[in-house]
Symmetry: C2
Subunit: 351 residues, 2 copies
C-alpha cells in the first residue's frame, strides 16, 4: 500500500480506483469475489456488497471497510464524487469501456486518468510471506501430480487422470485448479493447450501433465512429461534436449538478468540440437495471484528480473503427429541465483 | 449468425468485432480459450493463434478460419483496417479501455461504435440443441450431488464434500465446476456465498450445497439444503417456507411473464410467512455458456421471458448466526408453462 501511494504521488494522481479483483485482494487481504478500493496518498477504503459484510470485516487489513447494498465498485465511485480528489486514476487494462462510461457520468468535473499495470508491476516482486504461500501451492501441486503416477496404466482416459489430480488438489485444501488441467497422451502431447479428453493411454507413448492449484489465493504451475514403456531413441533424445534447455534457462535466472536472456538460454539449446523450430511458445511467465502475470519470459523482453519475482521456466518441443515434451518448474529469482520451488524429479521417467 | 446479421443491419453497423469469448464460442462453435470474430452482413471470419490451428479447423462452423502468429483479436483488427467496412461495432461491456485504445490507433478513419449485449441478448433464447446440452449438464450436476449424500456424516469437512462433488463432475465428463462449489454447514449456511472450508459437520444442523458443472460448454446450477438429524420445528418451518416460495416462483414461469413477476411470486410467500427480510438476493438468473447471463430475475425487472430462456429459481432465507435454506432449480421457459430440468427431490431430507 505504501508503494501504491508513492506511485500515486509520482504519477500525479489524487486517488486510484482499484477494480481488478486480484489487485483488490492483493492490497486488502480480502478473499471474496466482489470488491473495490479507493486509495489516496493518506487513506484506503475498501468497498463490497452485503453478501461479504462479515467476511470483509474479518479479512481486510490497512483499509477502512464500507459495505453497501449495491455493488462495491459503484459505491466507490459515488464516494469519489463527494470527495475533493480531482485527478482520479482507473485501471485501464481491465476496466471495460462501459464501466468507464459510467465513471465519466458519475464523476463529472473530475479528471479521469487511465493507469496501466500500476499494481501489477508492484506485484512482480513477492515478499517472503507471499513466496511461502506460493511454495505451499507448488508443494500441493507436486503432491497431486506424484499421487497420480500409479494411475497411469494402459487404457486410462486423459480426463480420468485430470479428475484424480484435481480431486487431490481439493482434498488437500486447494481452492481450485489454477487452470484447466492438461493431460495429453501420445500425439496429443504435441498440442501445447490440449484439453484432457476421451483419449486412452497406450503403451510406448508420451504422457504430458500440466497442472496447477490455487491455495490461499496463490497459484502454482508445473509440467512433467513421462513415457509409458521404454522410450525409443528419438523420444529419449527429444526429452534430453528439453531437459537440458530447461536446466540452462533455469541456471540463467538471477536478479538483474533480462527476461529475454532466460528465453534465449532455453532457445539456444534447442536450436543447437535441431529442435528450435518445434519450440513454438515463450519460455515462461510470472505467477502469483494470477496464473499468468508479468513478467513475460519471451524473446526480446528487456525487463530485468528483480529478486523476489516468481516465474515459470517451461520450454517444450512439439512434433505434430508424433508427440511433445514440456518440462516446467516454478522459480524464485534471487540475488546471484534462484530457488527452484518445484520438488518433483525431472529425469525421464519410464513407467 | 443470421440474427446477428439482422441486428447489424438494424443497428446500422457494417461489421461487428466479437471479442467476448463466450460470444465467440456461441457463434463459431470453437471451444478453445482464445479467438475473435469479424462479422459482416455477408461474411464471418474467425481468428485464433497458432496453438489452435488444428482445433479451430475441426470445430469452427459457418465462418472462414484464419490462424495467425500473434493473438486472434489483433489479427481481426488488422484485417478490419484493410477492408472497406467503416462503421464497426465492438463489445463495450467486456472490452477494456486499453483494448479500445488499440482499436482506435489501428483503425484510424473508421467509425467505432460501442455495442452492448447484442449477442448476449440473442443468447437468452436457447434452441433445442442448446437445451439438450444444458439438460445433460444439469443431470450430471444432480448425479454428483446425489452421490455425495452418503458422505454427509458427522465430522466430515466442507471442503471434503466439495472435493467429492467436483471429482464426480470431472469423472463423468464435465470440464470443470461452473463456479466454486459451495458447501456450508450450520450457521455458515446463512452466508449466501460461503466457501467450502475447514468446518466439520455436526449433528442437528443445516447442510447447504450449491454446485454446478460445465459440460460441452454449457453450465448447470443447483442448490439443495438438507438437515443432519431430525429438523426441529423452527428449521422445518423455514424449510417449508423456502420450498413453497420456490414452488410458487417456478409455477409463475411461462413465456410472456415478466422477470419481476417471478421474483415477486417468490418474495410474496416469504413475506407472508415473515421471512421476507431474510431473503437478501434476487430470485434467479439466466444460465447458458456463462453461469450468470441475462435475464436477471429480480425485483422490478420488466423484461418478458421468451420461450426457450433457461433460468434459475432460487429463493433463500438466511438467519445470521443460525443457518440458512436455499433451494434452486434450473427451468426452461415454455409457452404456457415451464420444464423443470433439475431432477433431484426437494422435500426436506433429514439425514
Amino acid at each position: 500500500m505504501e508503494k501504491v501511494r508513492a506511485n500515486l504521488v509520482e504519477g500525479k494522481l489524487d486517488a486510484l480506483l482499484v477494480s481488478h479483483l486480484p489487485n483488490v485482494q492483493y492490497l486488502s487481504g480480502f478473499s471474496g469475489s466482489a470488491g473495490a478500493l479507493y486509495v489516496t496518498p493518506r487513506e484506503a477504503i475498501f468497498f463490497t456488497d452485503s453478501r461479504y459484510d462479515l467476511q470483509s470485516h474479518e479479512e481486510v487489513k490497512d483499509c477502512s471497510v464500507r459495505v453497501s447494498r449495491g455493488d462495491g465498485f459503484t459505491a466507490a465511485i459515488k464516494l469519489a464524487a463527494r470527495r475533493r480528489e480531482s485527478r482520479i486514476g482507473f485501471e485501464a487494462a481491465t476496466l471495460s469501456v462501459q464501466a468507464v462510461k459510467r465513471l465519466k457520468e458519475l464523476l463529472p468535473g473530475k479528471k479521469l486518468i487511465p493507469s496501466i499495470n500500476l499494481i501489477e508491476n508492484l506485484r512482480i516482486t513477492k515478499d517472503p510471506f507471499e513466496i511461502d504461500q506460493i511454495r505451499e501451492a507448488v508443494k500441493l501441486g507436486s503432491r497431486a501430480y506424484e499421487e497420480s503416477l500409479p494411475l497411469l496404466r494402459p487404457g486410462v482416459m486423459e480426463m480420468e487422470i485430470a479428475a484424480e489430480i484435481e480431486y487431490r488438489m481439493r482434498r488437500y485444501g486447494g481452492e481450485k485448479p489454477s487452470f484447466e488441467t492438461i493431460v495429453a497422451f501420445g500425439e496429443r502431447a504435441a498440442l501445447p493447450h490440449a484439453k484432457a479428453g476421451n483419449r486412452r493411454l497406450r503403451p510406448n507413448e508420451f504422457i504430458l501433465l500440466d497442472l496447477g492449484v490455487i491455495l490461499n489465493g496463490y497459484c502454482s504451475d508445473m509440467t512433467r512429461t513421462l513415457f509409458l514403456g521404454k522410450a525409443p531413441r528419438k523420444a529419449a533424445e527429444i526429452y534430453r534436449a528439453v531437459l537440458e534447455s530447461q536446466q540452462e534457462a533455469e541456471d540463467a535466472v538471477r536478479s538483474g538478468a533480462s527476461c529475454g536472456s532466460i528465453d534465449a538460454a532455453a532457445r539456444r539449446v534447442l536450436n543447437r540440437r535441431g529442435y528450435g523450430k518445434y519450440f513454438t511458445h515463450s519460455t515462461g511467465h510470472g505467477v502469483g495471484r494470477e496464473i499468468h502475470e508479468p513478467p513475460r519470459i519471451g524473446a526480446r523482453q528487456k525487463m530485468l528480473l528483480p529478486a523476489g519475482a516468481v516465474i515459470t521456466v517451461e520450454p517444450g518441443v512439439y512434433i505434430p503427429g508424433y508427440g511433445g515434451v514440456r518440462i516446467e518448474d516454478m522459480v524464485v529469482v534471487q540475488d546471484g541465483g534462484r530457488e527452484v520451488l518445484t520438488p518433483s524429479p525431472k529425469e525421464l521417467m519410464e513407467l
